[in-house]
Symmetry: D3
Subunit: 331 residues, 6 copies
C-alpha cells in the first residue's frame, strides 16, 4: 500500500513534506529560461501523472542510477504554478523489489482478475466443438501468454485503457454474445465465442504496458490483427489434424473483426459469426465509452440534465444521461 | 384456398388449361410488331408474378370492367418463350367478395399474426414506466392503426418485405433487445422497448400494400421517420400530463434510429437507448438478410460450401454458410 | 442607455474607475496559483464579453444574491494582462427592472424590427392561395410565437447570430425569392414564400437567447427541422379542411430545406419550390457571411487588396473583395 | 421544309413508301446471322434517329459516294421489329446544297436565335465598366466565334443539348443574374454578367455538332474551362492597357464556375461574383432539367400526381409536379 | 498443337466440320422455349470461350462421363445466331493424358517462363543481405511452391490475368525497381526486391487456375495478403537465427503493399521500401492496363487518333495513344 | 558572409552584444500589458526567424525609414523568455547594397544552381523531337523567366521550400523519369521530360519569395496550373507552325499533373506520359519528405530505432528509418 497517490498531491498543502513511491515515466535534463539546469521527471501511479523537478541533482540524497521505468521512493513538497501542481524533489532512491505493489503504479481494472479469468475458462469449458476447445485450451494454458492476457490493457487510451482491460472487455463480450447467439439459429456458438476470445489477442504484443501504455514498433508496423492471426495460425498448425476449413474460419473472424477495410480489417465479415462479433464488439466499446463519460460527468459535478462533453468514441458527439435528465435517481 | 399458384405455372404443361384467382398488378393495351393489338396483364399471387395476354378482348367471356387492383378468376394456358413462361387468357371475370383469401394473393409472414400481436402486447404489459405504457396502449388500441400495424410489410423489398413483416420484425427486435438490455445497467428498458415498437410505425403510411408493395407519394415526400414521429407526438399531446422531457426522448429515439444522417436520420443517437436501438435494428436486418440468402441458396440447390450470391443489405457482399462449409448438417 | 460598453473598456485607462450595466454570462469560484480565492465572472453586453474578478466577495458593497443571467451594475477598473484586458470589481449590485434596456446587453439586428415584421406580413398579405395565407396568418398572429419570431437569432454563431437575426434573414430571403420566382413559370410563388417563412421557425425553440445564444437540450435532441415541421403540422391540423396534399408539401419543404441528408434534412427536395428554397437559403447565408467578413476586414484595417481571413461558412476559404482589389472606392 | 420527320416514321404505315432528307450519323457494313450482307445506316433529323438498312447496295438507285456526315435524300418504307421501327432503303442520293435546311436535321432551340443574340448584345451594351465592355465587344464581334456561339449546344446531352442551347442558357442566366445582383450591394454587376457570357464559351471547341453532338479529343484533353479561359486571356492580352487585375478576375470567374474541385474547377470561387455565378448556373441547369422532365412526363401521358422518372441532373432523384399533384391546371 | 482455336471458329464457314480439343468450363442441362432438352457446354482454350450445344446427348458418339474441368475432343460445326457464333456438337470424347498441351487451353504469358524464372533467381543471387537471400532461396527452392509461382496468374481478370502472369508481373517490377532504387540513397535495395518477390505470393492460394481463373473460398475469406504473409512468416520462423526486426519489416512490406486501408492493406507503408513498392506496383499495373488497351484498339481496327474504350484499372477513364494521335508510326 | 545567424542566437549568451544583418519580415507597433509601447520586428535569415523588440524607437541610433522587406544591420542582445529567445535591439540601420549576400538571408538549395541549370539544359539538348526542343529552348532562354526559374522555391512550405527548390525538384524528376521511361516502350520520352520541365513552371508567379515565401493574390485566384499552361500556350502560339496536336498534349500534361480533380487538376491524365509524370512527381515529393524527416530526427537526436514524428506529406503518418531500426550504420 502506497503512502500517497498522485491524485492526492494535486490538493496537497504547499510546502509540506510527503513521501511516496512512483513510477518514472520520463527523465530529461532541462534548463530554465534563466539558464539554471534541473532534472525534469514525469512520475506516475495508478491515479495519474505529475511533473517533478530535481534542482540539486548532485545532492548525495538524490540517486544517480535510476532511469525511465524504475520505481522510486521520493521525498519532496508540492507547489502550484497557474493551474498545475508541480513537485519539488528533495530525496530520491530506487525502490527495492517488493517494496511496493506494481498494481498501485498503473491504472488497473476494478474487477477481480482471477474471477474474470475463471469466467473466461468456464466459457471455454462449455464448448461442444472439440477442435475449438482444444485450440483455446492450448493457447490459454501457455503460462507466458496467459499472464500477458490477464495483464494487457485493451487499448492505449479510450475504452478499457487499464491493466486487465483486455480480459475485462473479453469477458463482457462473452457474456453479451452468449445472450445474443441463441436469438439466431444460424450462428455457430463456439465459433462466435472463439472469435470473442481471440479477436484482440494480438494486443498483448501490439501494446507495451511496462511503463505507461505504448504501441510497440512491431505493433505499429503489423497491428494486432496480423499478430493475433499469426499466433492463432501457429497454434492451429501445431495441433494434430486441426480441420483446415475450421482454421480458415477462425483466421477470417480475427481478420474481419473491425468490420470495415478503412478500420484496418483486410477482409469484411463473410460469415454470420464474424458479422455478429463485429457488431457486438463495436456496441460494447461504445456503451462502455458512454458509461465512462457519464461517470466522469458525475465525478466532475456536472448537472445531471446537461449534455456530456464530446465523446471521442462517438465521433465527438455529446450524449445525454437519460435518467439524469428525467430526474430519476435510480430506475 | 386457391386452385393454382403462379409458382406452379412456371412448370405447367404447355397448352393444358388451368383455372386460378390472381391479383391484377398492371393492365396495359399493347400492339405486337406485326401490329396485332392485345391486352397485357401482370397477374400476381403470394408466390410471384407473371405476364398474361388477352388476344381477344372483345370475346364475351372476357370481362371489361376490371382494373389494376382487382382480383380476377382466369382460365387459360401456359406457353414458354425463351426462358420465361407466359399465360394466354381465354376467360376472365372479377372475383366476388370472399371467393378467395386475400392472404393467398400477396407474400405474407409465415408466423401467426395473432400470436405475434399477443407477444407485442405482453411486452407493453411488462412496462413499469406508466407514461410509456399509457402511450403505447393508446396507440395500439386504435383499431385502424392496429390493423395496419398487423398487416404492413417492413419494407418495399429487402428484409421483411411481406404482409405482417413490420410486426414480425418488431417482435424479433423486442425479444433481442430484452436479452441485451440487462447487460447494460445504464439503459432504461421501457424506453428502449418503446423505441422498438414505434421506430418504424410510420411505415404504415409510407408504404401501401393494397396492390403490391409501393411507396406512397406522401411516403416519398416525408418518410416514415417524420410520419412516425408526428403520430407519436400527436398521441403524447393528447395524453393529459405526459412529461415533456419524456416526450422529447421518445421523439428523439424515433428520429435517430437510422444512426447516420446520410441514412435519413436528422439527428444522431444522443442517448444510450437510441444508440442500442440503432445497433440492434441494423444487426437484426442484416442477420435476417443473411438467413434469407442461405435459404434461397438451399432452395436453388447451390452447393453448401459455395459462397452465396451478392447480398444487397450487405453492400453486395457474398456470404458463406458456416455449417454448410464445415459439412455439418445441424449443430 | 448604458454608461459604457465592453468594447470601450478594452482601451480604457488602467486604474480609472468606470460604472456600467452588464449581463452575467458565467459565475465561478476560483483560486489563484498562490491559493488566493476569488470570484470569476463573465460579463457581456451587445458589444462583446470580458472576464471580471471579485477579490473581496465578502465586501458589503458586493451583492451575494446574483447569478448567471442577472443584469448587474458594476463599479471597477480595467487592467491589462498580456494582450487581454481584465476587470477588477469594487462594487456590484443587481439592476432593477427597467434600469437598463435589454437590447443593449445582447447583439441585435441593425434593422428596425417593426419594419421587418411589417414587410413579412405584407408578403403574406400578397398571397393568392387562401389556405397558405390562412396557415401563415394563424401562426404569425399567435402573440407568444410572434414575439419569439421577432426576437430569435438565426444561429448560435455564424450568419445572423444576433437578436432579430431570424426575422432579418427571412425578410431578406423573401425579397430575393420574390425576384427569382417569376423567372421560373413552374414555381408556385406562395408555396415558395411559405417555405421561406417557415423553414427556420423551429429555431425559436432550438435556440435560447436569454443569456447568450445556446442550443436547448430539446434543440440538440430534435433539431429545428423537426420542431418546425411539428409546429406547422399542428397548426394545419387545427385549420378546418386544410387540404391534405398541400399539408404534405408544406411539411416537405421544411424537412428538405438543408438540401442534403448529411446536413440533417431527412428528405431531399423533390418539388421545384423546395429546390429553389434550398439554393436561395444557401446562397443568402454565404453572401451574408462574405459581406460580414469584408466589413470585419475593413474594421480591422486590413488592406483592401488583401485576401480576407478564413470564412467558416465557406469551408475556411479566403475571399477577395473585388472592389477593394480593383481600387474602386464605390462603383 | 422536310417531307417527313423521324418521329413521324415511328407510326408510319408499314410498307407504304416515304421520301425524306436525313443526316447520316453512322454507316457500317454488316452481315445477318444467315450471312446476308447489308449496309446499316443511322439516319437522324431534329426529331430523333433511326436505323435504316440497304439490302441492295449495288442497285444503281443507291449512291455510293456518301458517308457519315452527309445529308441524303432517301426513298423507302418502314417495318416494325419488336418495339422498334426500322427503315428499308430503296433509293438514296446525296442532297444538293440548299435543298434542305440544316436546322431541320438537328435538335435546335425553340427560341429565335437572332432575338437571343440581340438580348445578349443589349446586356453588353448596358455595361458601365469600359474594359469589360471592350472585352466582350471584341469577342462577340469575331464573326467565326459569334457564329459558333449562336450555334453551339450547351452540352452533349442533359440540359440544353440542342443547337443554340449555349446561347439560350446564357441569355436565361443573364436575365436571372440581373434580377439577383441588385439584392447584393457587394456585387460588381458587369463582372457577374461577363462571367455569365464567358463561363461556357470554351464549349464551342469542347463539343462538335456537325454530325450529332460529340466531345472533340481536344475537348476531352483540355476541357471547356481551359479552352475558354485561354480564349479570354488571348483577347485581353490583345487589348491595349487592359487592367491586369481585372484580367485575373475574369479568368478566375471562368476557372471557378463549376464551384468544386471534383467538378473540374481548378479553383474554388474566391470573389462574390464567382460565388453567385456558380450558384445561379447550377440552379438554372437543375430547374431546366426539372422543367424538361415535367414536359416529358406530360408528353408520355403520365398521371399529373405521379412522381417523374429519375432525373439525371439531380442524382437520379424523382420529382413531383406541384401543380399536377395539387390538381391545379394553371396557377 | 491444337487443330483449331476458339478464335478461329468465330469466322469458320457455317456447317463445315471441325475437330478440336477444348477445356470444359461449364456443363448444364437446359430446355429450349419449345421444351426441347439439350446439353449446354462452355468450351474454352487459350484464345477464348464459346457456347456449344449437344442436341443428342444419348448418341453413342457423345461421351457421358465428362464434367467441368475435363479436356474433350469435339467434332462439330459452327452456326451464327445474331452476332454470336455457336457450336453444334456431333461427337465428343474425353482427351487422354498428353494428347494436348494444357498451355493451349488457357491464356498464358507470351514470355518464356524458364527465362523469367532465371531472371528472378539472378536477382536473388545479386542480394548482399544474407538473411533475405536465405529467405528467398528457401521459398523459391520449394518445388511445389515454385511450380505454382511459375504457373499462377496475377489476377482473376484485369492486368496479367494469364498463366505465368504472376511471374511476368514480378520480373517486370524487379527490373523497374532496380532502375528506381539507386535514385534514392535511403532505400535498402534487397528489402525492396524481397518485397517485390513476395508481395503477391499469396495469390498462388488465393486463386485457382485449373479450370478458368477463380477465387478459392480460402482466398475470399483470407486474401492473398494474409496468405502470403503467413507463408513468409512460417518460412522465417523455420530459419535459424533469422533477425526478428528484419522479419517484422518483411511482413510489413507484404501487409502494406496495397497502400491504402480501403484497398485491403491492414497497415499503410511506414518504411520507405514499402512506400516505393506500393507506387511501382500501382504504376506497373496501370501502365500494363494502358498498353493492353492500346493493343486491343489496334486489334479491333480503331482509328489511331481516337480515344480508347473505358479502362477499368483507371476508373473507367478513356486514354489516348500519344503516337497514334500525333501520327507517328514508331518513334 | 554574415557575422551571426539566427540559429546561433538561440544559444547566445544572455546580455552579450552581437552585430548582424537580417531581413525584416514584419514590423508592427505594439503595447505591453503595462501600456508601454514598443516596435515589434520579425527578423530572418536563411537559418530561421526570431522576434526582436525596439524599446526606444526614438533613439537616434534607430533608423526610421526601414520597412518590411528591407535588409538591416542590427546591434543588440539576446534574452530568454520561457522556451523562446528574444532580441533586444539597441542600434538598427538599413544595409547598403552589396553589404550582405541575399543568399544568406533566405533558405536556399544546397546544390550548385549553375550545375543544376546545366543539367536541365543538357536534358533539353538530348531531345530528338524538334518542336518540343524548340519550345523549351524558347522558354528557358528568356532571361527574366530563366532567372525566376533558377530562384523559385518549389512550395511555400513542405517539400523543396527553399530558393532554388523548383529547379532542384525538376532536375531530380528528370533524372528519375529518364530511368523509368525506357521500361515502358509506349512512352514518348521527350514529351515526358517536357512535362517534367513545365509542370510547375507556373509557380514562378504563383509564389513570391522576395520577403519570405508567400502566395501572390494572382497565385491564389488562378493557381500554378493555369499560370503555367497559359505561359506554355502563349509560347507555342508564338512559334511558327507548332503542331496543334502536340500543343494540346503539352497543355494536357500540365493540366493533369496533380492526378486528381480534388487536388486541383481540371483533367485526369489521359495519355501515358501524363500518367507517369503524375506518379513520379508524387513519389519524388513523398520520398523527399521522408528523407527530410529522417534528417530532422537525426539532427534532433532521436533514437535511430524510433518512429519519426508525423509527416505532413504522408497524411500525418509516422515513418520508420529501416537502417536505423536494423542497426546498420550504412549499407
Amino acid at each position: 500500500m502506497k503512502d500517497i497517490y498522485i491524485a492526492e498531491l494535486a490538493a496537497f498543502e504547499e510546502g509540506k513534506l510527503f513521501d511516496g513511491f512512483f513510477l518514472v515515466l520520463a527523465r530529461q535534463q532541462r534548463t530554465t529560461s534563466t539558464n539554471k539546469p534541473y532534472l525534469s521527471l514525469t512520475l506516475g501511479d495508478k491515479t495519474g501523472t505529475m511533473e517533478a523537478r530535481v534542482w540539486e541533482p548532485n545532492d548525495p540524497r538524490i540517486a544517480r542510477d535510476f532511469d525511465r521505468g524504475d520505481i522510486v521512493k521520493v521525498r519532496g513538497s508540492a507547489s502550484r504554478f497557474k493551474d498545475t501542481t508541480q513537485l519539488k524533489v528533495d530525496q530520491l532512491r530506487k525502490a527495492t523489489d517488493g517494496e511496493v505493489d506494481k498494481a498501485d503504479l498503473m491504472p488497473s481494472t476494478t474487477y477481480d482478475v482471477a474471477a474474470l479469468w475463471a469466467q473466461l475458462l468456464s466459457f471455454v469449458d462449455s464448448f461442444t466443438e472439440p477442435d475449438l476447445k482444444r485450440l483455446l485450451t492450448t493457447i490459454l494454458s501457455d503460462p507466458t501468454l496467459a499472464a500477458a492476457y490477464r495483464e494487457a490493457p485493451a487499448a492505449k487510451q479510450l475504452h478499457h485503457a487499464w491493466l486487465g482491460g483486455l480480459l475485462e472487455h473479453v469477458v463482457s463480450l462473452l457474456t453479451l454474445a452468449d445472450r445474443v447467439v441463441p436469438h439466431y439459429p444460424i450462428l455457430h456458438r463456439d465459433l462466435v465465442l472463439t472469435g470473442v476470445i481471440l479477436h484482440d489477442i494480438g494486443k498483448i504484443r501490439e501494446l507495451s504496458w511496462e511503463i505507461g501504455f505504448e504501441y510497440t514498433v512491431e505493433g505499429q508496423l503489423l497491428g494486432h490483427i496480423q499478430i493475433g492471426s499469426a499466433l492463432a495460425e501457429r497454434t492451429m498448425d501445431s495441433l494434430p489434424d486441426f480441420p483446415p476449413r475450421l482454421k480458415t474460419l477462425v483466421l477470417h473472424i480475427i481478420l474481419s473483426h473491425h468490420g470495415k477495410l478503412e478500420f484496418g480489417s483486410p477482409k469484411l465479415p463473410m460469415i454470420p459469426e464474424a458479422l455478429v462479433l463485429n457488431f457486438l464488439d463495436d456496441l460494447d466499446a461504445k456503451m462502455q465509452a458512454v458509461a465512462n463519460e457519464f461517470e466522469k460527468c458525475a465525478r466532475e459535478g456536472k448537472a445531471p440534465d446537461e449534455l456530456t462533453g464530446k465523446v471521442w468514441a462517438l465521433d465527438q458527439r455529446q450524449m445525454l444521461n437519460t435518467r439524469g435528465w428525467l430526474g430519476e435517481s435510480k430506475k
